[in-house]
C-alpha cells in the first residue's frame, strides 16, 4: 500500500465538536471503567479446566475435537485427514509444524505449503483443497474459538476456502476468553508495533440461520471443522 489519505476531516469533526459543546484537539482520556465483568470469566481456572471448556464449546459449535499429545500428534493428524476424506491439503508456512514433529506428515505429496513465491497459484490450490491445516495462535475456552494472526505465510485462505479446516491447538495457548487476546493486542499497539492485517477469531464451520431460522452448517466458508488439542506443557 502507498501512503494513506484523509479527506474532509476538520469540517466533519468540527461540526461534531460543536454539537457536543466541546473543544477540538483535547485528549479524551479513558476513564477507570466501573464495570469489568470480562475479567471474572473463568478467573482462576486451571489449564485443564480451560481445555475442557474449550472442547465442550467447540463441540457445541459443530466442531469435531481430538485430544492428543506431542508424541501421538502426527498419527492423530493423519487419522483426522483420512477421516475427512484425504485429498489435497493446504497448510500455512509455519515453523511450529517442525517443532511439533509434523514435517514428515506434510511431506506426503498431497500437501501444499503456502508459498508467496508461487503467487496466485496458492489461492487456486486452496480453492480445490479438501483440507486447510494450520496452528492456532490462541484459543478461547468460553466459546471454542481459535485465533489466527494472518500474514503472508499464515494466509487467510487456508482457514476459509477448503471444505474442512483443521486447527492444531496447543493446550498452552488456551485462554479464558477474548479478553486475554485483546489485552495482548492492546499492549502491542501501545508498544508501537504493527498489527497483523487480519486478526481472525473463528469458531467452527460457517453457518447461517437466514432461512426460516433453520441453522444450516456450511455456507461460504468451510463446511466442517476440527480442533486438535495438543498437550504441550
Amino acid at each position: 500500500m502507498t501512503a494513506g489519505t484523509i479527506h474532509n476531516k476538520d469540517q466533519f469533526l468540527n461540526k461534531i465538536t460543536s454539537q457536543l459543546g466541546s473543544e477540538r484537539n483535547r485528549q479524551a482520556g479513558l476513564p477507570e471503567w466501573q464495570h469489568r465483568p470480562q475479567l471474572d470469566v473463568f478467573s482462576g481456572a486451571s489449564v485443564n479446566e480451560l481445555a475442557a471448556a474449550f472442547k465442550k464449546n467447540s463441540l457445541e459449535k459443530s466442531t469435531f475435537v481430538v485430544n492428543t499429545d506431542r508424541t501421538n500428534l502426527a498419527e492423530a493428524l493423519q487419522e483426522v485427514i483420512k477421516k475427512y476424506g484425504g485429498g489435497q491439503v493446504v497448510a500455512s508456512k509455519d515453523s511450529r509444524f517442525g517443532e511439533f514433529g509434523l514435517d514428515a506428515v506434510l511431506d506426503n505429496g498431497e500437501t501444499h505449503i503456502w508459498d508467496i513465491n508461487r503467487g496466485l497459484e496458492n489461492i487456486e490450490i486452496a480453492k480445490k483443497a479438501n483440507i486447510g491445516l494450520f496452528i492456532s495462535d490462541a484459543a478461547l475456552a468460553e466459546s471454542g474459538t481459535i485465533v489466527q494472526f494472518n500474514d503472508k505465510d499464515i494466509a487467510r485462505s487456508i482457514s476459509l476456502l477448503p471444505t474442512v479446516y483443521v486447527a492444531i491447538v496447543p493446550k498452552s495457548t488456551i485462554v479464558p476468553r477474548m479478553t486475554q487476546v485483546v489485552q495482548a493486542v492492546h499492549q502491542s499497539v501501545e508498544e508501537g508495533n504493527n498489527l497483523a492485517t487480519c486478526i481472525n477469531f473463528i469458531s467452527g464451520p460457517s453457518n447461517s440461520a437466514d432461512i426460516e431460522m433453520n441453522i444450516v452448517i456450511g455456507v461460504h466458508g468451510p463446511v466442517e471443522a476440527v480442533h486438535v488439542i495438543v498437550e504441550d506443557l
Binding site: G4, I116, E142, E190, L195, S208, V219
Partner: protein, 475 residues
Amino acid sequence: MAMKIGEKPFFDRVDDALEDGFMRNAMAKAQDGLRGRKLNATVGDEQIGDWEEWRSAGEEIRRHTLENLDFYLDQLSENFARQGGHVYFAETAEDATRYIQEVAKKKNAKKITKAKSMVTEEIGLNEALEEIGCEVYETDLAEYILQIDDHDRPSHIVVPSLHKNKEQIRDTFRDKANYTGTSEPRELTAFARSQLRETFMEADIGVTGCNFAVAESGTISLVTNEGNANMVTTFPETQITVMGMERLVPTWNELDVMINLLSRSAVGQKITTYVTNLTPQLEEDSIDAPKEFHLVILDAGRSNALGTEFQSALHCIRCAACVNVCPVYRHIGGHAYGSIYQGPIGAVLSPILGGYEEYGELPYASSLCAACTEACPVKIPLHEHLIKHRENYVEKIGMTGEKMAMKTFGIGVSSPALFKLAVKGMPAVLGPLVKDNSITSGPGPMKLWTSVRKFPAPGKDNFRNWFNDRAKGRE
C-alpha cells in the same frame, strides 16, 4: 432506494401488514426463537456472570465514546491512514456514494461483492454503483435472497429476509436463477454457495459495513457467521468499508465487551463464527489481502442527535434485541415501518436520520411497554426516546386531528357547564352506533380504535351522579 421503504402512508402500510397472515406468523416465530436464544446466552449463561454487569459495562463504554466522538474519530482516521488506508468523511449519503463511485471508476471496477451492511442500504450504495455500470453482488444469504427477488427490502436488522418462507425462496431461486432443487434450507443454501463461489474470486472491489472500528489501531471489526465477509475482504484488490460515524470503540479492550454484547444479544451466540479484524498495512505482502483499503465514515443525520436528549440513540450496536421483544413489531412486521431500521430502535433512529416529516409517525408504533429498554444490551432508554419524539412531533409538526381533538377537549374541560353537557350528551350522541353494548364501527378518530377492537358504549349514568347518590345514601 436508500432508507425509505415504500410510498404508502404509515397506517396503510400497517393495514397491509395486518392482513398478511404468513408474515405475522413468521415474525412471531422468529421473535420467539431469537428471544429464547438471547435469554439462554445472556441471563441464562452462568459462565459469563451477571448479565446486568455486562450491560452496565456496555453503557459506560458507549457513553464515554460518544461524549468524545470527535477525539476518537480523529484518532481512528489518523491510525488508519498512517498504515496506508484512505479515509473519507462523508457528511451526507450522496457525498459517500459519490466518493465510492469515484473509487470504483478509478479502479475500472466491474464486479463488486458486498457483505451484509445496513449502512450501505441506508445510503443506497447498490443503486449508485449500478448507475455507473458495476455489477453488485450481495453475498450474505438473506441479502442475496432479497436481491434476486427484484431487490426486495429488509424487514429485520439482523435477518433481513425474515418475511419470506422457504417455499417463497425456492420459487424465487427457480424463477430468477434456474434453481431446480427443493425448499430444504440446506439445499437452498448450497445453491447460493455454488452461485457465489466464483464471483468472490472475480470481484474487483469488496464492500463491507463496520460493526466496530478500533480507534487506537485503525482496525475494522466484522461480526459474521457465513464466511462471506471473509471472502469479500480477502480476494478483491480493493476493499471499501462504510461505517456510521458512531460505530467505534477507543481500544481493543472495549471491543471485547462490545463483541460479547452484540453476539449474545443479536443471535444468542457466545461469539459469532467469525470476528474478523482488519487493519491496513503499508507493507502488505500477502497474496490474499486487499492492496487498497478505503474507509468511508458517514454522518447522514447522526450528528442531529449529538448534544441532544437523543444522543444515547447513537449508542446502538444494531443487535435488534429491542426488535425481537417488541409487541408492535410482532404484529406489523418490518416493512410497515417504512424504514430499513425497524422496531423500537428504528422508530427512534429513523426520525433522527430522516426527519419528522418522513418518519414522525413511527414513534407511535409502540405500546410504550418498555420491553425494548429492558432488552437493550447498552441500556438505551428507548421508550423514553419514543415519548420525547411524540412530544416533538406534536409540537413541531403536529397532527391536525389530534391537535383538534386536544383543543376541543381543552375547551370542554375548562368550562364546568360544557363538561356537564358533554358527559350527559355522550350516550345520546353515540347511541345510534351502539350494538350489544359496544361500538364496533366508530366515526373519525374512533375508527382507528374500533378497527381492531370494540369500544365500550358510554354508560347511561356517570361518575358524578353515582358519587352524589352514594354520598346521599351514606347521610
